[in-house]
Amino acid sequence: MPQPEIASQTLALHEAKRERRHNHIAYAYALFAAWILLVVAGWVLPDRMQVDLGSPKAEPAWLGDSGGDRLLGYDRVGNAIGPRVLKAFTVYPLPLILGTLIFSIGGIIIGILRSGFFIKLNFIGEMIIDKITQIIELFPAYIAIIMIAWYTTQSRFELGDHWKNLNMAACALAILNIPFFAKVVSRRVSQLAAMDFIEAERAMGLKKMQILYKHIFVPYLVPNLILTAGSFMMELLFMDIGLSYVSSQLGEFTAFPSDSSLGYLLSCAYRPENFSQFSDVSGWVLDGGWYFLEIAVITSILLFSIRWFIHLIRTVFVEGLTHA
C-alpha cells in the first residue's frame, strides 16, 4: 500500500534529520566547551608563562626545565612558541565582551529609538540618526583612524601595552558596529511591533518595556546579538593580527608588539633566523610549516567567520537551548 510507505519514509526522513541536528548540537557543545577550557586555561596560566625576553631559551615555569624541544619550536629570542599561541588566544574574551556590550547597548538604544516603538521621532530626528549612521557606515576606516589617533594623544596610552591597546581598539571597532546592529534592531522591532500577537499582548495590558523584553528581545534579538558578537570576534582577530603584524614590522616601539600576539608570532615566521631554532620535533613545521601556520590561521578564520562559526553559535545558543 502506497500510503503507509510514504508515511514511513517521511517519518524516517524526519527522524534522520532530527538525529543529524542532535549530532550537530553535540559537536557544537563539545567545541564550545573546548574553547571555554582553552580560555580558562590561558587565564589560569599567564603568570607562570611570563618569560624574560632578554634571556634566550627561557621557558615558562609550568613547562619545567626539560631542555627538550617544544611543538612549534622557539622564536628568535628563544621563547617557546606553542604556549604563546595558547596564550595569544586568551587575550580576546575581555575585548570581545567589552566590544559586544558597547555595540549591543548602542545598537539597541539607537535601533529602538529609530523604530518608533517608544517615541515617534519627527522627520528631523529620524534624519539626524540616519545621517550619523550613514556616515559611520560609509567611512569606517576614517572614523577608526580618528578614534585611534585621539586615543594616542591621551596620557593613559602606552606603547607596547598590547592588552590595553587591544581593548581600546575593540571599543573603536564596536563603535563602528553600532550602525549595523542598530539597523538590525530597528528593522526587527518595527516589524514585530505591528504583529498581531504583540497587539494581543498590549490588549492584555502588558507594558511596552515588558513586551520589548519578553516578546521581542529574548526570542528575536538575542540570537541576532550572538551572531553579531560572533562576527565581531572574527573582526577583532583580523584587526589584531593585522595591526600587530604591521607594527611588529615597523620597529620595537609600536602600539602592538607583544610576546603573545598572533600577528607578532606571524611576523616571526618570516624571519630566516628563526629557522635555525627549530628542532627535529618540529621539522614538519620547518619545511614550509610557518607558511602552513599562516595559511591555517587565515583559512580557519575565514571558514569560521563566514559559515561555520555562525552555524556553531546558532546551533549552541538557538537550537541547543530550544531543544534542550
Binding site: E199, A200, R202, L206
Partner: protein, 353 residues
C-alpha cells in the same frame, strides 16, 4: 437600572488615517455612538471592510497608524475601578488612550483578536501563554493548573493521549488555534470582553461549541472564579454572521461603511421594519442556511463606497432597492423609531419619514 449605569459609552467616535499622497483622510468609522450596559451582550454585525474590527481595536487604543481616533469621547465605568474618560478633540494619538487604560486592560477589559494563528506568540507554548494570561489577570497560583485544565477540557483541547499545553502555535490546526485564542480571552475573566469574529473560519459544530462557551462564560461556569459581588461580564460580539446573534446577544448593531445603520434588540430581529441593509443580511442568512443551490444564494448588488469619499447622503444608497431622490442628498441620522430600535433610513422610521 442598567441604562443609568453603562459600562462603556462611546459618543460620536470617528477614526481615520491621513493619506499624505492623496491629501485626504481615509475614514475607518464616523460618528459612531453606542453603549454597553452592565451584564449586556451587544452584537456588532456588518460585512467585511465596514470598520467593525477597527472600532473594536480603537477601544483599546490599538489603532496604530495615523492619527487614530480624532473626534468623539469614550467613557469607561467598569465596576470597582475609577471612571475613565477620554475626549478626542483635535488630532490625537491613541497612545494616550492606551496609557490611560493601562490599569484596566487585561484585568477588566479583554480582547479576543481576529486571526488566531497570528495572535498567538510563536515562541511560547500554549500552556505558558495560558498561564501567563491567568497570572496577569490576577488568578492565584494555586488555581492556575485547575483553571487551565478546565479550559482545555471545555474547549476539547486535551485528552488522555495528548495535551495541547506543550505545543507551539504552529503545531495547532486552525480550529484549535481559534479555541485557544478564545480560551485566552476567557482566562482573563474580564468585565468587558470584546470578541472580534470568534467564530470565523471554524466549522459548524465548533461554531456551535464556541457559542455555547460564550454563554457558559457569561453565566460564570467557564473561566476563573469571579469574586463575590462582581457582575456578570458584558460583551461586544463582532461578527459578520447575523444569524449567530440570536440566543447570545441582547442587542444588535448593524454597521456599514463605518457608520451604524441600525440598533435593535435581538429578539426583535425579523419582526420590525428594518433598515434595507439589515433586511438583506437577514435574507441572505436565512436563505444560505436553507441550503439552496449556490447560484441562487442572494447577494447585495454593488460595492461598498470607498472610505476616502463617503457619500454625502445615505452610505447604502447605491445598493439600496428602496432608494429615493433625497437619499442621495440628505444623510439620514440614527433616530429612535420604537423603544430600543434606532434606524438611519429615510424610508424606515427616519427623522423625515
Amino acid at each position: 437600572m442598567p441604562e443609568q449605569n453603562p459600562y462603556f459609552e462611546a459618543k460620536s467616535l470617528s477614526a481615520g488615517v491621513y493619506n499624505r499622497n492623496r491629501g485626504r483622510v481615509f475614514h475607518f468609522f464616523r460618528n459612531v455612538s453606542f453603549k454597553i450596559d452592565k451584564d449586556e451582550v451587544v452584537g456588532l454585525v456588518g460585512e467585511s471592510g465596514s470598520g467593525k474590527t477597527r472600532l473594536g481595536l480603537s477601544l483599546f487604543g490599538l489603532l496604530r497608524d495615523g492619527p487614530g481616533l480624532y473626534s468623539g469621547s469614550l467613557n469607561f465605568s467598569l465596576s470597582d475601578t475609577p471612571k475613565i474618560h477620554f475626549d478626542f478633540g483635535d488630532p490625537h494619538s491613541s497612545s494616550g488612550l492606551r496609557r490611560g487604560l493601562q490599569p484596566v486592560l487585561g484585568r477588566r477589559m479583554g480582547l479576543i483578536m481576529q486571526g488566531a494563528k497570528s495572535a498567538l506568540n510563536p515562541y511560547q507554548t500554549i500552556g505558558t501563554q495560558l498561564k501567563d494570561t491567568l497570572q496577569l489577570a490576577g488568578c492565584p497560583a494555586s488555581d492556575l493548573s485547575n483553571v487551565s485544565e478546565q479550559l482545555y477540557k471545555a474547549f476539547s483541547l486535551s485528552s488522555k493521549q495528548d495535551s495541547i499545553s506543550n505545543r507551539y502555535p504552529f503545531a495547532l490546526s486552525g480550529g484549535q488555534a481559534h479555541r485557544v485564542m478564545i480560551a485566552l480571552g476567557f482566562a482573563m475573566g474580564p468585565d468587558l470582553l470584546i470578541a472580534d469574529e470568534p467564530t470565523t473560519g471554524v466549522d459548524s459544530p465548533i461554531q456551535a461549541l464556541i457559542l455555547q462557551h460564550f454563554k457558559a462564560f457569561r453565566s460564570g461556569e467557564l473561566g476563573p472564579r469571579r469574586q463575590e459581588g462582581r457582575p456578570r461580564p458584558s460583551m461586544l460580539f463582532i461578527t459578520h454572521q447575523i444569524d449567530l446573534m440570536k440566543g447570545l446577544t441582547d442587542r444588535v448593531m448593524v454597521m456599514y461603511c463605518g457608520e451604524l445603520l441600525e440598533v435593535c434588540k435581538t429578539r426583535d430581529l425579523g419582526h420590525l421594519p428594518h433598515h434595507p441593509y439589515t433586511e438583506r443580511l437577514l435574507e441572505i442568512a436565512l436563505e444560505t442556511g436553507g441550503r439552496r443551490h449556490l447560484h441562487s444564494i442572494p447577494q447585495i448588488a454593488g460595492r461598498m463606497p470607498v472610505m476616502y469619499d463617503p457619500p454625502k447622503g445615505c452610505v447604502f444608497a447605491d445598493r439600496c432597492s428602496m432608494v429615493k431622490e433625497h437619499c442621495w442628498k440628505v444623510k439620514p441620522e440614527l433616530t429612535t423609531h420604537e423603544a430600543g430600535h434606532q434606524v438611519a433610513c429615510h424610508e424606515r422610521g427616519g427623522d423625515d419619514a
